[in-house]
Amino acid sequence: MNLPAAIALSHREQIKLLAGVLIFGAAALLPFFNTTYWLSIGISIAMFTVLATSWALFSGPTNYIALSTAAFFGIGMYIVGGGLPYLPFPALVLVAALAGALFSAVVGLATLRISGVYFVIFTLGLAELVRQVVAWAQHVMGTSSGLYVLIGISDQAMYWLLLGLAALVFLVGWAIGRSRLGFALRIIGNDEVVAVHSGINTARAKVVLFVISSTFAAMTGALVAPRWSYVEPSIAFSPFLSFEVVIMALLGGVHRLWGPLVGVIPFTLLWEFISAKFPSQTTLLLGACFLLIVYFIPRGVVGLIEDFTRERGGAIRDLLKRWTGGHA
């Protein structure tokens, strides 16, 4: 192959890429099945795939639990809600990305020197802080409390937009994984002191990842705003969103790029099942499910899959080996 080394793909990577393209291609066909109900679940899954996967890009390797998803998601929503009279929707999504990146860079530079529980609490407070700032701004400017995003975007288009963003997250995550940055992050996650002593600029690495992760959250908020039609603080900055994203990512497993995805899908379906069958006991049953999950699959769905392939995958591996000519 004549490609430069940085872009050159090994045989195995080519197969992975092909698999990724096929999976996303298959997912993109959902709207053609003409079932609006499943499409609405698909939209949920796509949205949380973006949020959970981009969350894990930062929190997975560094082990910093960030509860700031809602803060950036809300910023994205507010930029679309507030900016719609002045700019077209696609431009606003870009503005949201930019604003998310800028804000997270400032926040990251200020806070990523703290770690552990201090960082968790700070990020949790961040959504509330931004919410109060928005309320204050509305008070000063004398605007109405709710912002209306009345542009009709069909369910199909919404689904494809979110799916496209999810594909972008995977591409970025994959590129980071094979870069020097990704390597540095894995060292930070294992032992930050060792990383510093190896000459890694840990602060910079963490800020870059935090920015990437938060930018995607802001873009998701911007994309979802037309679907929710109405932006108000309690909706845009719901702390529940941050927790949900963390739970889904951890359920899947954060040490593989596709880990959160296998958390989001069963979680969304499980919750849909509980909501439909036991509408009065959703929270109770969900709590019980968490206990079962933590007890029986502590390493997340990824762990389950890896155990399975280790136990029974011998035959499959042999098959793959023959198929790929011994490179697998």
Binding site: Y148, R227, S229, Y230, E232, P233, F240, E272, A276, P279
Partner: protein, 402 residues
């Protein structure tokens, strides 16, 4: 239990169908009505007062009289209820589930402005009428044009602020109170909107605003606010407040002995819990909402308590019941659940309800409604509104009693 058995059990349950829905159990003869609301999350406490109990009361009443009289004969109603957990994404999914999977005959409105607006495109897509109560907006014109099946049984924000200001202006013009007003507001959504709508009206009406402050949502200690307001020596006190602070401010006004002749606090004065907490000391307190006294409305409060076990409020609750009466009459007049025919009927007829004999939502909004109420002798009487000719006279507040 062995781990594998647990997983197998869960797997079997999942295969049987997230997605083999509860509706399958319903008998053919019953009418399936979808009800979505927040059982959990930030909106849950409000919904527990005005949203869910009214649907329960309605189901009870309709079934007690043998069901809805439709063309196909009398049919009992069955509510299919989902929790949206105060998340718009969930509201959307729940409406889709009711429409596409449960294939219900009708879907009741959801709870909260943002949630109703998020769900509006789905109602519209399936053609279901969406008659909302818990949605307050200043964009009624835009929204009703966009969604021909969307109705509002609730006034606009500015109407509430204007009415409250006008009640005080009238008292001033009649020489019953002086021209000094103290205004406070909660620095959050609705509070900000009301404060901004009210301020110019007070200024134009010749009031001197002697105190004007906001306090953050979730404030615990209202004594600084109340002390400062009292020190400004106002004749009237206005709080654009929310449920937790409406209670906190009243408590503090009582402690400080805020001696104003008119005391107005926005959301939650109309709640039964407000009177339960303060008893007679809140006599003559003004607040958002209010209802005109009548034997029908007294009967409604009695039945509500008897059937649901909770007290109805004096604002949203009777309006919920109002649109349920409107819908019942519409279903029976149309004789089927033809969605287009129902919308047409709503746009061409008036109805006899607990709030009046000619209740009119033909223009996709309630034509007449009350905006300001006052606690008088244990009932929260309407003292101002939009579209009515006369109201119960406003009384002046004389201290906070004991």
């Amino acid at each position: 239990m062995h781990r594998r058995t647990v997983l197998k059990g869960a797997g079997a349950a999942a295969l049987a169908g997230p997605f083999g829905f509860r509706a399958a159990r319903a008998q053919d003869a019953t009418v399936k009505i979808g009800v979505i609301g927040p059982r959990t999350g930030v909106m849950a406490s409000g919904a527990a007062v005005s949203h869910f109990p009214n649907f329960k009361l309605w189901e009870h009443e309709v079934n007690a009289r043998g069901g809805l009289k439709m063309k196909s004969g009398q049919r009992k109603v069955e509510l299919i209820e989902y929790d949206d957990r105060s998340q718009p994404g969930e509201t959307i999914k729940a409406v889709e589930r009711l429409a596409a999977q449960d294939k219900v005959d009708f879907i009741m409105p959801v709870y909260g402005t943002g949630y109703n607006l998020a769900a509006a495109p789905i109602y519209a897509k399936y053609g279901y009428p969406q008659v909302t109560q818990a949605a307050v907006t200043d964009q009624i014109d835009t929204l009703t044009q966009r969604y021909p099946g969307l109705f509002f049984v609730q006034g606009s924000t500015s109407a509430f602020a204007q009415s409250a200001a006008n009640v005080l202006k009238k008292l001033k013009d009649e020489g019953k109170i002086g021209n000094k007003v103290a205004i406070v507001n909660v620095a959050d959504a609705f509070g900000i909107e009301l404060a901004n709508a009210g301020r110019p009206i007070f200024q134009q009406a010749g009031f001197e605003i002697v105190y004007d402050k906001s306090y953050p949502l979730g404030t615990q200690d209202y004594s600084p606010v109340m002390k400062a307001a009292k020190a400004a020596n106002p004749d009237a006190f206005v709080a654009w407040s929310y449920p937790p602070d409406t209670f906190g401010l009243a408590e503090q006004a009582k402690i400080e002995g805020l001696n104003v002749k008119a005391y107005y606090s926005a959301v939650a004065v109309a709640f039964p819990a407000f009177r339960a907490k303060f008893g007679n000391s809140i006599e003559n307190v003004l607040g958002a909402g209010g209802i005109q006294d009548s034997p029908e409305i007294r009967e409604y409060y009695r039945k509500h308590k008897e059937v649901t076990g909770v007290d109805a409020d004096y604002w949203a609750s009777p309006l919920y019941y109002t649109f349920l009466q409107i819908l019942t009459q519409t279903f029976e007049a149309v004789g089927s659940f033809d969605r287009e025919a129902i919308i047409n009927h709503l746009k061409t007829h008036t109805f006899k309800t607990v709030v009046g004999d000619n209740t009119d939502i033909r223009k996709q909004r309630l034509a007449r409604y009350w905006t300001v109420g006052q606690w008088q002798d244990g009932f929260f009487h309407a003292v101002s509104g939009v579209g009515f000719d006369n109201y119960k006279p406003v009384r002046l507040k004389t201290g906070w009693g004991t």
